[in-house]
Amino acid sequence: MIYLIRHVTTYSYAEPVLVAYHHAHLTPRGFDGQSCRRSSLRIHPAPTLLDETGSDYFGNRVAFFTLQEAHRTLTVEATSRVEVHPRALPAPGETPPWETVAAMLRAANGPTLLDAMEFTFDSPFIPCGDPALLAYAAPSFPPERPILAGLLDLMHRLYRDFTYDPAATTLATPILRVLAEKRGVCQDFAHLAIGCLRALGLAARYVSGYLLTRPPPGREKLRGSDASHAWLSAWVPGAGWIDLDPTNDCIPGKEHITTAWGRDYGDVSPLRGVVLGGGDHSLKVAVDVEAL
């Protein structure tokens, strides 16, 4: 499947911004699950400095830009053409017991496991020390259960137990509150699932990207009506990283487009920045995912 993705972010400021520093994860990365055919970044007003050739610690593509001219609005438009190659999933019953995976990761040696090991620890948005996480995860991971079966069960339960509610949380809502109140958005569900898995000693990472949506039957798809999306990926020996989307209770296949991954949202937020001046600001995001 080939997709054309347009992601437009607009910041409007009450007062002029004098200097702005931005850091963007807006260009989809390439890996064995997809290839990014073409991408462009258009920034208005034109930045004083722009560096979009770099990649970050996790191998994601990253752009830095600085604006040194006073401005009241900032528009960043990222356009990419991505081909997704869905991968075959192993049979859940044939994956190793989850305890075996946890033990492998605990004793990790060698460069391959190192990459998975990285994602077994606390991270700024996902502290995993609270027993409540382990308690929530436990029913999905009885002794000796194959890891993928456990992962699927945890995803189903999260989907069943939690309500999608954009009004319930903000960027600052801790995952324990999400767990207690059972409401949130894709970012919260991904963080929570990752926290549960890391509490078990498993490796899980946060994936930022897009999802193809369909308009209600008989209606035209509205321009800009899509959104960026987030899910998680868990490490399964032999199969590598397997994506899980607890917001939609599905294994991402050909309709999820990956932009970047990291330990949590903080590593891969689509557009972050620090501005001097500006006063109050408002943010508008419009995303279109079009299947070609």
């Binding site: 190192l114 990285e118 958005v185 501005v275 001097l276 006063g279």
Partner: protein, 845 residues
Amino acid sequence: MSMEPSEQGCLPGAFRLGYPLLRGRWDEMVDGDGTLRPHWEPLMGALAALPAAEMERRWAGGQRLIRENGVTYNVYGDPRGLDRPWQLDPVPMILPAREWRGIAAALAQRARLLNRILADLYGPRTLLAQGLLPPALAFAHPGYLRPLRGVTPRDGIYLHFYAVDIARAPNGQWQVMSDRCEAPSGAGYALENRVIISRILNDLMKSYAVEPLTPFFQTLRDDLAALSPRSRETPRTVLLTPGPYNETYFEHAYLARHLGFTLVEAEDLTVRDGRVFLKTLDGLQPVDVILRRTDAAFCDPVELRGDSALGVAGLVQAVRAGTVVVANMLGSGVVEGGCLAPFLPALSRHLLGEDLAMPGVPSWWCGHDADRAQVLERLDKLVIRPFLTSGGRGTLRFGEHLNSAGREDLAAAIRRRPGDFLAQARPKFSTVPVWGKGELDPRPMMLRVFLAAHDGDYAAMPGGLARIASERDGLIVSMQQGGGSKDCWVLGERQARPATASRPKAAPVRLVRGSLDLPSRVADNLFWFGRHVERTEDMARLLRAILSRLDEGADGGGADELPMAAELLRRVFRPPQKTRTIGAFALMAFDPAHADGLAATVQRVGRMASLVRDRLSADTWRAVGRLAETVDAQDDGNRLNHEDALSALNDVVLAGEALSGLAMENMTRGLSWRFVDIGRRLERAVHVVETLSGALAYKDGVAGPELDVLLEISDSTITYRSRYFSAPQFAPVLDLLLADESNPRSLAFQIVALSAHMEQLAVTRRSVFYGPEQRLAIWLSGAVRTADLLALCRPDEDGGYHNLEGFLETLRSKLWELSETLTRDYFTHAVSRSSAPAALREPQP
């Protein structure tokens, strides 16, 4: 004739001093038989010869120096914590030359090793891949800054400045207790300790060849400057501090001054075009090297912690581009925290091909299954510190202090999150003698040693910060926990030399006159420092004039002025409700809770002074301290002794004058002085206008006695009498206070001074046009010079002075405008203060 061997080298008067030996510990001064170690003989001999009273006298002098120099240490979680005086013991710790050489070499090896580990963790990470280091120690450490991976610092140096705590075990062996690799503190305190001890023990120091400390700092300064990415004659090095609320802010200011670096806070720096600049009054000046005291994670809100207000947006990108060098390298803190310790012997052999020269205190990382089992077995004998979540800075828990339930809880926590904990053995630290009331008493000690990257290796500061527990059997040696400190003398191998050798040798410097390197924030603070000092003095004069008349009033004289005086007081002190009695005004003035009172203003003077401390002379700092003490002493709740208050007000006026005198005489006529003086002049100008308006507002008009008060609070009585030889009249008084350019208290005098200042500031504008602040100064000067005073002081038909009131009102608003203009054009420097840097993030639905 032979002497008894036990007498030779015995502590002279050891039993008189009554120094007890603590069981099971090494003592630095006395060996196991109670014999004085040879390197302590000269000091103890001299101390014993010194009458106790003489020592007490000298030590009282030392403590006064500490207070007056404002040596402080902030203690978190203590309401009086901010600025607690530094704790120093007069008896130094002494290390013989040979022993020191061993320590310095061992610690230099350790620094090289840590630097190599950092280079691996931020580079190929082969140590993790080969299993020489558990990956958790990097991955889970909050100090592992991923954006810095792959960024190689200049010359491969990650660790420029390193501190290490060592302690001596009962068998005499030194052991490493912990490493400080993020932004080590203490070297400045060690230097200040030396300054004070060499002052009070000058003669005793002469009997030793004590290694001086300052060459170490000169080398550090030169080496840091040499890191500059631009090859330039005078690279700009700054010391980045998190600010005055940091526990060791005193040291930041002290070191900055000692090293000749500009002390900056994050808001003084900005990144433009991928380079770091200092925001000065002269515009943006490039910065080449940053010696940081801010934890790296807080140094850049764009790529590191987004919640940091202490960071410089874009700094990581500048480091990546190599346009600036940050020392220590961002991310160096990952080798701090202690969990590396169990792995260092093997890493030393692997990376350096050498055995580790100084052992670490035995320690176990609970993330290792075998180690954890051992730890759980002997929890009661170990110290446990949380590691992963805090980077080793969490609270220590002593197994022996826990009851069985507490120990069970701790064991459960370790089992749940084993990788989170580090266990250390707790050797009994060696003891050193501490001076107290004419006696010496043993206290456990830990020594912090400082090393700096130099010439491909590490050089140690000969000496260190010896820290002592607050009790004989104290387990914790920490300034946060109430311990004290000592100077540490490393004995040189050369001939004894005078103690003055510790004075800084004149390093060759380029001659510079005047500098525009004044950060805008500092200019702002200096301006307000000047304003608050002047306001303090004005308030004290006013209150004094009135309180002294209250006394006269009791026996008939002087009572006439009191209603007007109350009007003036109301204008200056802005009481919340209708305060009537003069006594009530005085009480309010000394009540620090009243925001417009004298005490609160003095507090502001202190706060502003602490913000610009590195710009003020030691004398100025002392004068600020004295001012605060004078006012504090009067705040005793609800009573105020009339006599005491008057005498306190006299002291305040004197202290205020001393401060302005110091500024006049001791500050070079650079920008720092200029902004203090602008503040003072502007405040005094406003005060003259306020006072005159207040006098006019008093409905019974301005006659003789009121004019007396006006002259007195403006310190112009003598001038008037010497000119007019008669009771004061309105027109000449007005002329003297408003228009007389030769009276240093007049409005005209202030405006002349302000005009000159604006003129000089405008030089930095590099524009042929008058700036707004110049135009205001010119307007004010014209208005005062051309005012028709005789017309202005002619009363209207209703007995009022409406023209004069209007004139004063205009002057007041122009003065206010001048203050605002300065703030806008010079202090905020293109960034409005109301909007601190804001972090933006796009959420994901």
